[in-house]
Symmetry: C3
Subunit: 149 residues, 3 copies
């Protein structure tokens, strides 16, 4: 049993999804490990790692729309039980920053996946996505950590 640890830089183009399956499978193949567990950490607090449907792009549009409705980006929080909305206190970095922190808490900044026969073990319709929550694109750092043989 051995380990491989590396860092992957992902350029995002603003709010939305970047599919990672191909890059992750290439990296796993390069390690030479056939069977193991791959642990991913997104080293930021404004984007998520998520698994979702990889076929119809409207799925990701609807997912983004749901998030925009329930974690709004106009400087104020969601409708509460009394139909009121309060202002976010943390607003120094723009109206899309605090919502990004909330969105990462509702989804995940880490993801653990099985590797079998040198590839990610996933269902047919499962895509792995980096979900950027901020409006401006940036470079995101992911750590890739595989334990296996």
């Amino acid at each position: 049993m051995r380990q491989a640890l590396d860092q992957l830089e992902v350029a995002t183009c603003g709010q939305g999804f970047t599919r990672l399956n191909t890059q992750l499978n290439s990296w796993v193949a390069a390690t030479g490990l056939q069977l193991g567990v791959l642990h991913l950490t997104c080293l930021h607090t404004s984007c998520s790692l998520t698994i979702n449907e990889n076929a119809d792009p409207r799925v990701l549009q609807d997912l983004q729309a749901w998030m925009n409705a329930v974690v709004p980006q106009d400087g104020r929080g969601p409708l509460d039980a009394h139909g009121q909305r309060s202002r976010y206190l943390h607003d120094d970095e723009g109206d899309d920053d605090m919502p990004a922190h909330i969105r990462t808490a509702l989804t995940a900044q880490t993801l653990t996946l099985s590797v079998d026969r040198g590839r990610l073990l996933l269902g047919t319709w499962q895509g792995i996505y980096l979900w950027e929550h901020r409006h401006a694109g940036t470079l995101m750092q992911l750590s890739l950590h595989l334990i296996g043989e």
Copy 2:
């Protein structure tokens, strides 16, 4: 240290929860491994793996009701900050399909658990559940991957 990898088929009876603790503990026992980490992947994008209270069935009813309120299933999204609701774009597979994709993004399709003395290391009140988000029951495939000794 060694690995065991297998697949478990779980029959769901429509929207709701199937407790997995007994099946998972039996599988762990069969591997002969005493101490390790078990990684589960649900190979679908319409059901989740979740941990919740295992004693009062009304907990799961309330959890389902919360989800139904915040991720509605009538073909339209939730109330946004302005009290409006937009239609889902992805609706080819029925009104319960897009909400299922959103629900999996809010919960998890993978779960990693510790194993100690040949059993899952959990709190007294923790049940492991497969949470089916669609109305029709189906057969779900889970991958079980244990690394340990």
Copy 3:
């Protein structure tokens, strides 16, 4: 490759966040393992493990306020798509109990982190928090499980 398994007791002071980075790094250092994967399990169904911004305390206040708005604590669920609210069925343990179960389902009770050079591999702004969802403080048990070398 070897394993270390231990339990950490965390005292919470009611609803809110307890940062764990220092305690976790001390424990990792004591194991002597330099490179590996640390798996945490919170052995309860009313608190979460979450990663968020560690600099401005107002981030955690806003995150708590979002949760309080969308998973209310007055004995009734959130506003549904029709602007209605239903009562929780499970209310024997107080009005903050069922919301705590829902909040753990939306976040996570387990967390897996990379360890490199004997320390947690995290981004500059990432804090690891135990998020207590109930009003009364209590003692929470976490299991710490490291596989590495």
